[in-house]
């Protein structure tokens, strides 16, 4: 009898834990806004890259552009731009928008080559 109660108790804990995990993983994240920029969907990232490229075309501040890009792809600003460029292409961005992104990629590439030993 005592053994049966123990098993039931453990089962109840497991059931409760399952419910708690489900709530924490499925329901709770949807209720709060806790995602980081790097979790954005590819099309939002492409638009983000475009905005960064537009600002870069205006202020020419590559360091700031890199900081902004690393928010969506930490430690790989060029990767972020390349990914953005591909997505932009798939989504049919205008030529001038593609060009802005490409200009940013070129600038990042040049800087990387210059800083290489």
């Amino acid at each position: 009898m005592r053994k049966g109660r123990l098993i039931a108790f453990i089962l109840a804990i497991m059931l409760g834990a399952t419910a708690g995990l489900m709530y924490g993983w499925l329901y709770y994240p949807a209720k709060i806004s806790a995602a980081a920029m790097k979790s954005l969907r590819a099309d939002y990232k492409a638009d983000y890259v475009l905005m960064v490229a537009e600002l870069f075309a205006t202020d020419g501040d590559l360091e700031k552009a890199t900081d902004r890009l690393e928010k969506i792809k930490p430690a790989d600003a060029i990767g972020a731009v390349r990914r953005g460029l591909l997505t932009a292409q798939e989504m049919g961005y205008a030529d001038w928008e593609m060009r802005l992104i490409a200009d940013l990629e070129i600038a990042l590439q040049q800087t990387r080559q210059e800083t290489r030993p």
């Binding site: 109660r5 039931a8 804990i13 806004s33 806790a34 475009l50 600002l55």
Partner: protein, 278 residues
């Protein structure tokens, strides 16, 4: 003696399990966010996203696009959120440019008809039709009315310089049409130089419309282009006369020039006028 126990222990087990599960899901093995929309971003990232949208708005001057981007954040009252963040950026440690951009975008969200002049790009745009470089040194932006453009909120105010001699005549030394890529609007771009070829700020430029109405604006609100630069948005079908200074040469019959892109499609261009003191 038979021991009588209730089933309360089951409820206790459920509660313990639920608490453990919840704590595990939040702190030990938190949910991984993948492919989210901007509305799911955490507060700090939302602010960064909003700031970026506002800064990009200054470059594009596209109200619809900026509003659409803002809508992705799903703020209950976007304008309020922009104003609140603009005020936050005004505080020490904040970014003044971002603050201005946010405030301007808040105004654009509230007043749909608000138009701004986009910031000029320093990187040359390849392709499309050749863009005439401004005499200052930079590519010239296109777009809407300077009277509705809170230029000072976008660009630094020009440093005070001595005003030109009042009544000094400015002569038109160059007039040309500029064909930029489509979708930028049409401007009368005015450059005013003194005899030493230096851009002159704070020179009044008067534009009159053939069928009545006069508007005036001043050079110097776009020091990043030239201290002597100012622009005015034209409307297709209208004809304008323009005078620089109170006794400057009157330039008549200015209207939107028609340009053609590489596909042969027509689009409205801009006019560049360069004035100089003899």
């Amino acid at each position: 003696m038979k021991e009588k126990r209730g089933s309360l222990y089951l409820l206790t087990g459920l509660v313990i399990g639920a608490v453990l599960g919840l704590l595990t899901s939040i702190f030990i093995v938190p949910a991984r966010y993948v492919d989210v929309a901007p509305s799911a971003l955490k507060a700090v990232d939302r602010e960064q996203y909003r700031a970026l949208v506002a800064r990009a708005y200054l470059v594009e001057a596209d109200n619809g696009r900026a509003v659409a981007r803002l809508a992705l954040l799903a703020d209950p009252r976007p304008a309020d959120a922009l104003v609140a963040q603009a005020e936050k950026e005004k505080r020490p440690g904040g970014d003044e440019h971002t603050s201005r951009a946010l405030a301007l975008l808040a105004a654009a969200v509230s007043q749909k008809q608000l138009l701004i002049t986009p910031l000029p790009r320093i990187a040359a745009e390849a392709g499309g039709q050749a863009t005439e470089p401004a005499p200052g040194e930079q590519e010239t932006p296109t777009l809407p009315p300077p009277t509705r453009t809170p230029g000072a909120t976008i660009t630094p105010r020009p440093s005070p310089t001595p005003l030109p001699t009042q009544g000094a005549p400015y002569a038109l030394i160059q007039q040309k049409e500029i064909c930029e890529v489509e979708g930028r609007g049409s401007l009368i771009q005015v450059f005013v130089f003194n005899a030493a070829d230096e851009g002159v700020p704070a020179v009044r430029v008067e534009v009159s419309i053939t069928d009545g109405g006069v508007e005036s604006f001043f050079t110097g609100f776009y020091p990043e282009i030239s201290p002597g630069y100012a622009d005015y948005a034209m409307v297709e079908g209208m004809t304008y006369n323009l005078r620089v200074g109170s006794t400057g040469q009157l330039v008549q019959n200015l209207s939107v020039p028609q340009c053609k892109n590489k596909d042969g499609e027509a689009f409205p261009g801009s006019i560049q006028l360069v004035f100089k003191q003899p």
